[in-house]
């Protein structure tokens, strides 16, 4: 599975694999406009794992769809910002050019493998479709490749199972099939949208390990979208915490777990159940995530923040630099950092 060198766009080693800058996405519904992503910025280097962490509705999946170019439009629109793959502007590309990147250079693993696999086709055909669509391979050759891949994602007796249908696989095996499809052409970037959410806890660990191993083998950039802090701690290099369509904190994984610099991250970390606090009530962040059609004034997190002051309701904090590789969108980040030292 060599990469076709001609297909890789130019870009020096200094150019990040993927650079998202000030991305804004909104959904124009009949009676209102929902601003799902508001100025998300990040970059991804080769071999790096970036975790995007956030509650449901924080805009993490939508930003991934925008990068893949599979946003349902209408109603979804990218209103501002740029997405660059190896320095090349993806939003300005012809649709056909983007389609060729999808699956080949930038790929995606979906949350629910059962509903993401077509129920009426054998899995071998579905994995093989990658080779047929992108490399124009014959059906027979593509099935051989599919069996190799299924072996590679450690599905036992792969040769026989290429003839099975998705419903004949267990949840974990199905997710392996999904991963095999996404990684078939050794893409540069894989976006995994909550890849383990639909799985049992024990299987979750195996799937994450598999993804991580394959990432190392192929030195891909991995964007891991999740709400599971446990998963993130194990595999991510960097973390972006999203809230109401904004990045509220960005940091290396060690820093964020040791000393969060935003009250939301602080709250998330405190609400992880801990074995040494048995018998005590679980800590939670009060309130619910904001309605994106009606985002609070000032700092979007202030209605739920235990450190909120008057200014928080009025002025939205900028994403301020805390240190070399970390940023926080809080007026009082030094205070948060101090409290968690």
């Amino acid at each position: 599975m060599e990469k076709d060198a001609a297909g890789v766009p130019p870009g020096g080693s200094g150019t990040p694999l993927l650079a998202v800058d000030n991305l804004h996405v909104e959904f124009r519904l009949r009676d209102r406009t929902v601003r799902a992503v508001n100025g998300v910025t990040y970059s991804l280097a080769e071999g790096e794992t970036l975790a995007i962490l956030g509650e449901s509705g924080s805009g993490k999946s939508v930003s991934a769809q925008a990068i893949m170019g599979i946003l349902d439009s209408p109603p979804g629109f990218i209103t501002e910002g740029t997405i660059r793959y190896r320095g090349e502007d993806m939003l300005g590309m012809e649709e056909e050019q983007r389609r060729k990147l999808r699956g080949r250079r930038i790929s995606m693993v979906f949350q629910d493998a059962l509903s993401s696999l077509n129920p009426v086709f054998r899995v071998g055909d579905q994995i093989g479709e990658m080779f047929r669509v992108h490399l124009g391979m014959s059906k027979k050759d593509s099935l051989v490749k599919a069996a190799e891949l299924m072996d590679r994602v450690r599905i036992p007796s792969a040769k026989d199972r290429i003839r099975d249908y998705p419903h004949q696989f267990s949840g974990g095996m199905r997710q392996r099939v999904m991963i095999a499809m996404a990684l078939a052409l050794e893409p540069d970037i894989v976006i995994a949208d909550e890849p383990t959410t639909a799985l049992d806890v024990t299987v979750q660990a195996q799937i994450m390990r598999l993804l991580k191993d394959l990432q190392n083998e192929m030195s891909m950039g991995l964007i891991l979208i999740t709400h599971d802090l446990g998963v993130v701690a194990d595999v991510a290099d960097r973390i972006e915490v999203m809230y109401a369509g904004r990045v509220v904190e960005e940091a290396d994984v060690e820093d964020i777990y040791a000393h969060p610099a935003h009250p939301y991250t602080e709250g998330l970390l405190l609400s992880i159940p801990r074995i040494d606090q048995k018998g005590q009530a679980l800590r939670t962040i009060p309130g619910t995530p904001p309605n994106l059609a009606n985002i609070p004034s000032g700092c979007t997190f202030h209605p739920r923040c235990h450190r909120a002051r008057a200014i928080c309701a009025v002025e939205e904090p900028a994403l301020e630099t805390v240190s070399m590789s970390r940023q926080s969108r809080c007026h009082f980040w030094p205070e948060v950092l101090d409290a968690t030292q």
Partner: protein, 334 residues
Amino acid sequence: MTEPFNPPPSDPQTEHDPPRAGGVGGAVTVGMAPDATLLTDASTAPGQTAEQQTSLTKEAWRDLRRNPLFIVAAAVVTLMILVAAFPRLFAGEEPGGATCPLGQSRLPPRAGHIFGNDLQGCDVYAKVIYGARPSIVIGIVVTIVTLFIGIVLGSISGFYGGWVDTILSRFTDVAFGFPFIVGAIVILTAFPQRSVWTVVIVLSALGWAGLVRIMRSSVFSAKSMDYVQAARALGATNSRIIIRHILPNAVTPVIVLATIGVGAIIGSEATLTFLGVGLQAPANSWGLSISQAQRYFIDSPHMLLFPALFLSTTVLAFIVLGDAVRDAFDPKLR
């Protein structure tokens, strides 16, 4: 930072696959080839919609084979298709000319002519057998043509949405609102010479709208499935998404509806012919025989009864067949 969450090396053997179906107690019918391992009892995994979808075809087939109504209807339909294809096997020479001695005009059923003779002295049995072909051909060809139109327009409308859908849907609404019989009479009277194909064209032109509507909504719901988005994210082209991922998952309802419609189309042909705007003599069809026989019904009822019996049996068989297929494929009725 140490890893608080260090998974064991992946060991796929620890993941439990559902038993390869076939071994599930009583879930699988007998007499299937090894390929029957594909069959899974949906009840072993409640709530797994895709599983139900995949095995739906097979389960439907299993249900159908146990349904006596289906067996009888399928047998009648098969017989009628054979009659239409090889009338010579059932009735010998085609009636007409020398085989119709005028001296035997309107003679009642008797040995050698079990259905009697018609006005021209032709054997009614032979006429009924040879009259099956236009009815069956019209029923099947019109169904295929309307199914094709329905699938193509419905898919385009449902997949692309937006202004394409708006235009196609309004167009469909107009066609749908056209009263069927009146429309057919108006168009058919405009043709001085009418053959089987004229009737096929007119019935097709008036019959596709309902199928487009069903197909459109079916594609709409298939389009929003995750596997369609997944296919798009992995770089499939639009045509590939429609043909491979949407169509196979959206086509069942229209096929079922079209099956039910075959009987109605055969009935429409007979109706139009009876009204004098369908097939014309010297052609031979059930509708035509009924039309010619009506004036002599009191004196020679056999001339009308036998074609009418064949017509109603065939229409009924197609409708029962369609109903049985619909019931077998509708998850809500199981």
